[in-house]
Symmetry: C2
Subunit: 429 residues, 2 copies
């Protein structure tokens, strides 16, 4: 029995264009494997006259997204504009209110409004597919919702931002400084012209919130979360980390500890022996820690039109095939509010880099401060940058985060310290 699936697409940028091309080329696969005849009955974007790499004329153009959504025969609206506010948000709400299924890649909106959207979808008996919102072509959302539905998930750890990961890899491989690597990422299409939210960790925060909400079945209030990104890292950090046997990766981690959600988004040092250390360039990876000690790792391209459109297609097929699929796997009524913290328990090793003026006694002063906060030193390097300035790099033994915070505070006040110390945690998993 063949089922007609009428879809409309809002947003015709990289992902939108790839999605249209993939739908056109895969029509026979949809028909043969799923009995679906997929028709694109309309498109909408902010700018009609922009040059696009598909034939816009083949599709009905809507000047009003409201008219497009309200077309009687539309089953699914695909929103690929993005943004927690503005038109993308309006389209998502309008879609659900009009009792249409929604597919979206809008991680910012989902991180802010996930609960509201889940409620609205359930009330209107429609579904939301959002596989494309996290880790491009990696089917992590479906894996969490389906394969781990009967299993307790303890922790989610992810390299979730392709831009940051590309820059960190490129700085090491080509010995570039941050701005050169960023420019290269932009040239290759791995970074946007305004990459601020990628580099400051916000994009990773959005994604780890989405994954944590599915994994732990909680409502997470993004306003109470904090994050830091890679924008202050220099090639010295990459270089010294490498010398110490580590790679630097921007990680998002979510876990459940004593009924609280712990969230952290920050660059970490990862031993070269660990799986995540080899996840390079624009790749994303997610480790799912479940049921005591079980680890499952998913790796794939995290962004770009081709991989992301695969996830859009996956949602398209699944929304049409399965019943009773709530957004977070369970009803929104059971998504409990929970307080969040970024205080992970347990001690950690830390990487500390201090840029100092060449002043007698500087090293002695630094090591004394660490000693006073019970931080013992595993390795110490000193490197002269020019006649007046040098870097001191320290790898600590395991110690309390509170000790490190206090020591950093003290260090940053020393008159021989040129810039705020760079401090990164070593990943112990």
């Amino acid at each position: 029995m063949i089922k007609n699936l009428n879809i409309v697409i809002a947003g015709l940028g990289t992902v939108g264009s790839s999605t249209i091309k993939l739908i056109e080329s895969n029509k026979n696969i949809f028909l043969n494997r799923s009995g679906l005849r997929v028709n694109i009955v309309g498109v909408f974007a902010k700018n009609k006259s922009k040059t696009r790499n598909f034939r816009l004329k083949n599709y009905k153009w809507f000047n009003s997204y409201k008219d497009m959504i309200r077309q009687k025969n539309v089953n699914i609206v695909i929103e690929l504009i993005g943004g927690a506010k503005g038109i993308a948000r309006d389209i998502c709400y309008e879609t659900l209110k009009n009792k249409k299924n929604l597919i979206t890649a809008n991680k910012a909106l989902l991180a802010h409004d996930g609960y509201k959207l889940a409620k609205l979808a359930e009330e209107n008996k429609v579904k939301i597919g959002f596989e494309a919102s996290v880790a491009g072509g990696v089917p992590v959302i479906s894996t969490l919702k389906k394969s781990f539905k009967g299993i307790k998930i303890n922790k989610i750890t992810g390299i979730l931002n392709g831009t940051s990961n590309y820059i960190l890899t490129n700085m090491l491989e080509e010995n570039n400084d941050f701005s050169t690597s960023l420019k290269k990422a932009q040239k290759l299409g791995y970074a946007e012209q305004n990459p601020e939210d990628d580099l400051n960790g916000l994009d990773t925060l959005h994604k780890i919130i989405i994954l944590s909400e599915i994994s732990f079945n909680k409502q997470i209030d993004i306003k109470k979360a904090v994050c830091s990104g890679i924008e202050k890292l220099t090639k010295e950090d990459i270089f010294f980390a490498n010398k110490l046997g580590f790679r630097i990766k921007l990680l998002g981690i979510g876990c459940i500890e004593k009924k609280k959600i712990k969230l952290i988004v920050s660059p970490f040092l990862i031993s070269k022996e660990k799986e995540l250390s080899n996840v390079n360039k624009n790749l994303n990876a997610i480790i799912i820690d479940a049921n005591k000690k079980n680890k499952t790792i998913l790796v794939g391209e995290g962004a770009g039109g081709d991989p992301t459109s695969i996830s859009v297609i996956s949602d398209l097929i699944n929304i049409s095939s399965y019943e009773n699929e709530n957004m977070y796997g369970i009803t929104y009524k059971d998504l409990k509010r929970v307080s969040i913290s970024n205080n992970f328990s347990g001690d950690n090793s830390y990487f500390i880099r201090v840029k100092t003026y060449d002043k007698p006694g500087a090293i002695a002063a630094i090591t004394t401060i660490l000693k006073n906060f019970n931080i013992s030193i595993k390795s110490l390097f000193q490197e002269q940058l020019n006649r007046k300035i040098f870097n001191v790099v320290i790898l600590s033994h395991k110690c309390k985060k509170s000790s490190i915070d206090k020591a950093a505070n003290k260090l940053n006040k020393c008159n021989f310290v040129k810039e705020k110390a760079i401090i990164m945690q070593v990943l112990h998993v």
Copy 2:
């Protein structure tokens, strides 16, 4: 609305015991997230009196698996005995004929009888869950069936045998010879007492057949497939591969080329820069190549009770929640028969190790043979094993497989060659 799910379990070994314990500990999760009240209404195994790490007395024991399956209220039969023939096979057929859903980890049976089972299940309107049959806790089957249902899959590459992977890793890390590493694997529970099918590649063949059948929607006749394993590798192979910048991994590869299924199961050299090279010990990994150049990698523990029971639970939940789930994603009627071959197109680099008697002119003879078959040499090592015997190791530039086969044939006939040459392909992906 709460749904009762009555299950019976046949097979109470490592996976069976772990499954029972996981079901008991996760009853609240099933109830809260899926509205399922799961009851174990009976168990069966070959030997009742064996010591087990759960309280057998808590469950109704059946002396006859037929009686157990035919209990009126049973919804799902879980078969965890294993084996393409004998009692495990009988239980699977009996389950489907009695219109009960089946969950099984029986890769040997699935590789031989997959099509017949799919037909029988559809005819009786019941479902088969087999996530546990490939790569233990890694949800590769669900990923292929659900996330890639609308996408053309081009190739599946997998490290699918935990025993072989553990031995290959251990030989390198601890400089052990094959038999010492095997014993260690057995001691740790990563290898069975009779590991023949793990080491000769047959287990990997079963698994790559299952994955290929789902990915390419074809019936594959296992009788026409060939495989080779790791049983002839020595620590010299590991050592020289490492020296050349490679790891050795036993891979199963399935792809579709010119409407033929190409299957290969063999040890490969993998550059240390590639993702799979870091998949060590008893880990499994699968690369899904789809839609032109998209790569998705799944990594996790490949065997053992805890990870495998997670996959059994995943099937339990999914069988109870989703409708219209055919075994291979599509109806058995559309699973076309296809001829298979292990002739992959394209040239490759090869690793060649020849153990020779110390005879003047041996190296000259070897290199002349290679030259005569147009095989050019990238690296060559010679290592004296004792006064009379040495190893010659060659890494070739890319060349035809037929040339390598002919050269090997010639080499093996030389009177100075002590043992058949070891030949492995370098993975170029």
